[in-house]
């Protein structure tokens, strides 16, 4: 087609497009100019120029050092109200070799005179005041301009040069009974003495800088383990190969809450018992050692017996369960011991250590029941899925469809009930329920389409038309499911009126439940049951990619929220201070490191993975032997890099109350103390550049 268009008109068209592009570009920038209030008037405003000059000057004159000063007083005579007859001499000696010349030699109150001093102590800071025995001294205030109507400022302190010379204009003080007398005028000079030392500001800044560096270190290290685990889950190359038959996945999913409940009920108290015993030290130590020894004995004794295939399987399952129980108990004991140790080490050199151990112990105490629940859920779920894997293979239609329907209904109900429970917390979270329902609905629509003979084809055989039908049907199903769910749970009311879902309860015979949750569960059950029933238990479910997409979405969402905003929330939770900053930066670092790490995992050489897998290694072994050795250097490099970023971020996280040097900087800026602010800015610049250099150097060495 294009060949038929004459060459000249094609280039004309191109030129027209170019002109159009330029015009559009200009319009965009013109709007941007207005939108961002770019104004040269402000830039040229002399008042603003003066203030920015002052601010910059002070910022660049940081209050770094100070030194002690010793006050020395010099007395001269000065008459307020000139006496009749001879005027006094302009020059008056102090008796210490220094002298002062008043011009004019005498003056009335409020008159402006010039005072010039010679041979005073060099480099001193001085002020002039009227000395009155037994009464308060009255300062001669400085006049900073030579204009006739110049006003006295509030200041009375001025600097002397290195010859001990000064020349200032001051205002003669006014007071009852001053006039007509000769007074003693005290020139008080603060003379530097001793070595220069760090100013109070510098000391505070150093203090806060250390806090800042540790804030960044804490955030980085706390984020590290979570990010490492997440990075494997969010790596496409590791997750893509994980597909399981739908039936196994559903069994595992249904067992999740059961295992969680069992873990919470059975292992939770065991862990808490461990904590109690640990607090009493001796029972904890004995119990922990006993549990370990017991486990070793049992596993050794059981290991001696040779068993047939299935019995061997039961044995390893039982041993694993026992191991989990022993580990939970021992973790509890360790937590209890930590609390005990924290209580003992409250004073002295080890107080910090005591606080650390004690807090860790309390943390264990707080989360052990939850940990037990999570452990139980994972254990039972994977156990169930692997136990049914064998028998499930030999179930075919229609039984596989019936089984799929039952398991799908249960899973769908659990899934949507859980999102609904989560969704009751806030309006926007309520969106999750229809979104998850939409995912199920889309799948259901596709499964319905597969009822048409010949419609179910593997992905590789699909034509573009097939693909389009798939996408359209999926979208349609998803939209329908979204609409129905949104209507059922009254999402519109929630979003428009910002009201969380109603708290009405419904009696289900066995137990009561929020109507909102029950409705969601019902929808989930129907959608899930239908979709899985039509698909059957044998269909391959991309478990890995589901986990991958979910974790990537969460990581991306977290990364898009700036730590400053997270800081605001954490300040509300744990109060103003560095802890809030640590939490905010930790959360952001998890998201950011998680992504950086997972990209490293994605770029590793797949060869060793193949090799280790082919030896019969399991998934965890494959990760440890084939993946981990390849990613250690880049992980270290990225961790350093993140620490570097965190130091930079923690210098400003204080602006929202997150502790560190930013807090100090903001205070000083608000008080217009730019000299002091200058110290903080300087400190940030120095630390950031050092860390920048150090992290670059280390990264270069490792990679």
């Amino acid at each position: 087609m294009t060949n038929k268009v004459p060459r000249s008109s094609r280039s004309a068209l191109r030129r027209l497009l170019l002109v159009l592009g330029i015009v559009i570009g200009v319009v965009i920038y013109a709007y941007g100019w207005t939108a961002t209030d770019i104004s040269l008037d402000e830039v040229q405003d002399p008042v603003r120029q003066a203030s920015v000059q002052r601010a910059m000057r002070e910022l660049l004159s940081p209050d770094l050092f100070t030194r002690d000063r010793e006050n020395r007083s010099f007395f001269v005579d000065f008459a307020i109200g000139c006496p009749d007859g001879d005027l006094p001499e302009g020059r008056t000696d102090t008796g210490d070799g220094a002298y002062v010349i008043f011009t004019p030699p005498c003056a009335d109150s409020d008159e402006i005179i010039t005072v010039e001093g010679f041979h005073f102590p060099a480099d001193a800071i001085a002020r002039i005041q009227l000395y009155r025995e037994g009464q308060q001294n009255m300062p001669f205030r400085l006049v900073k301009s030579d204009a006739a109507d110049a006003q006295a400022s509030d200041e009375s302190v001025f600097d002397l040069d290195s010859d001990g010379h000064f020349r200032v204009s001051v205002k003669v003080p006014r007071g009852r009974g001053l006039s007509g007398q000769t007074h003693q005028v005290e020139i008080q000079a603060a003379v530097p003495s001793g070595w220069p030392r760090l100013s109070a500001t510098t000391e505070t800044v150093i203090d806060k800088m250390i806090e800042t560096i540790f804030l960044a270190l804490m955030a980085t290290t706390l984020a590290l383990p979570v990010a490492v685990v997440l990075s494997f889950v969010a790596a496409r190359n590791l997750m893509r190969q994980i597909t399981l038959p739908l039936g196994n996945v559903l069994v595992g999913f249904v067992l999740l809450p059961v295992g969680g409940w069992l873990g919470y009920q059975a292992l939770g108290p065991l862990g808490q018992l461990g904590v109690r015993w640990g607090k009493d030290v001796l029972p904890g130590l004995l119990g922990g050692a006993g549990a370990l020894a017991g486990f070793a004995l049992v596993s050794y004794a059981l290991g001696r017996v040779t068993l047939a295939g299935s019995a061997q399987r039961v044995r390893s399952v039982a041993l694993n369960a026992l191991l989990v129980a022993v580990l939970v108990f021992i973790l509890g004991v360790l937590g209890g011991l930590g609390i005990w140790l924290g209580g003992k080490l409250q004073t002295g050199l080890l107080a910090d250590l005591g606080n650390f151990v004690g807090t860790l112990g309390t943390l264990v105490d707080l989360i052990i029941a939850t940990l037990a629940a999570v452990g139980g859920a994972m254990w039972l779920s994977s156990l169930g899925a692997s136990l049914v894997a064998g028998p499930m293979r030999h179930i075919f239609s229609p039984l596989s469809n019936v089984l799929g329907a039952v398991l799908g209904a249960l899973s769908g109900a659990i899934l949507l009930a859980m999102t609904a429970l989560f969704g009751t917390q806030a309006v926007l979270l309520g969106l999750l329920t229809p979104v998850v329902a939409a995912a199920l609905g889309g799948q259901l629509a596709v499964e319905l389409y597969y009822l048409v003979p010949g419609a179910r084809k593997p992905k590789r055989d699909r034509t573009d038309v097939d693909q389009m039908i798939h996408t359209l049907l999926y979208a349609l199903g998803a939209l329908l499911a979204f609409a129905i769910t949104a209507y059922a749970i009254d999402l519109l009311r929630a979003i428009v009126d910002e009201r969380p879902p109603s708290r009405a309860m419904i009696d289900l015979g066995l137990f009561e439940m929020r109507t909102y949750v029950a409705k969601s569960a019902l929808i989930g059950g129907v959608l899930g049951g239908l979709a899985a029933g039509l698909a059957g238990t044998q269909v391959a479910f991309p478990l890995g990619m589901t986990v991958y997409n979910t974790s990537r979405t969460i990581l991306n969402a977290l990364r898009s929220i700036e730590p400053l905003i997270m800081g605001i929330v954490f300040v509300i939770w744990v109060g103003v201070g560095p802890f809030a900053g640590v939490l905010a930066l930790t959360l952001h670092s998890i998201a950011s490191l998680g992504k950086l790490y997972s990209e490293q995992v994605e770029s590793i050489d797949a060869g060793p993975i193949e090799a280790i897998q082919s030896t019969g290694a399991n998934r965890l072994q494959t990760i440890v032997y084939a993946v981990v050795p390849q990613i250690v250097p880049p992980y270290i490099a990225f961790t350093m890099y993140r620490w570097d970023i965190n130091v930079r971020m923690s210098t400003i996280i204080g602006f929202v109350g997150g502790g560190g040097i930013g807090f100090l900087l903001q205070q000083q800026i608000n008080l217009l103390r730019y000299n002091q602010a200058g110290v903080a800015v300087l400190a940030i610049a120095i630390v950031v550049s050092i860390l920048d250099y150090a992290s670059a150097a280390i990264r270069e060495r490792i990679v």
Binding site: S386, R393, K459, R460, S614, A617, Y625
Partner: protein
Amino acid sequence: MLKIEHLTKIYDSGVRALQDVSFEVPDGQFLVIIGLSGSGKSTLLRCINRLIEPTDGRIIWNNTDITDATDEELRQIRRKIGMIFQQFNLVRRAPVMTNVLAGRLGYTNPMWSLVNHFSAEDKRKALEKLNRVGIREKAYIRADQLSGGQQQRVGIARALMQEPELMLADEPVASLDPATSHSVMRYLELLNKEDGITILCSLHFLSLARTYADRIIALKDGRMEFDGLPQEIDDKRFKDIYGEDAVRVEIA
């Protein structure tokens, strides 16, 4: 006995890498698979231990259907199938010893292996295998400091740690120079003759295949083109397998 029945692999991209391939390998045979790049040799070998999931067909080994095995059963089967690779696939940053010990992963207690703990027995065995392939003294050197031929011998030692009954060798000498190639092939021959390990080895060069193979299978565009004794490949068969333009290259 390894039985491949109607094995077909179609990748998600639509590429038909294997089409209805069937053959049997009696125990103790040294079988060489030849064919051009992209003819499906690697896919075939990887389907046998299911590093690649076959699309269709069955693979039966010692009366077990590998294609039907669950994850757990598959791990048990893989333990007995050693594999070596064109690119050696060693963990380059780890010492030779760790690489060799990794061959025991299917047998060890998973918990202990996660902290890199192996039994004294396993360590003794690893040194013995390294000794067998002639690089006992390199045990504690990082794998990436060895030459190509040495790395491939580490690969063989790793596979030997599995005490395999079947060895899959995917172009084991394609990254090596001719002299080293022969030395590696001779180790494979030794394993075949002395230990009675069945070997399935894919090779580019017909000359190497002729020297070492008991039997040769040729693949072309995913189909079986030839199955027979090395000496049966004459010029006509050669052109069928490698195409009209191919010229025989001898490797000394």
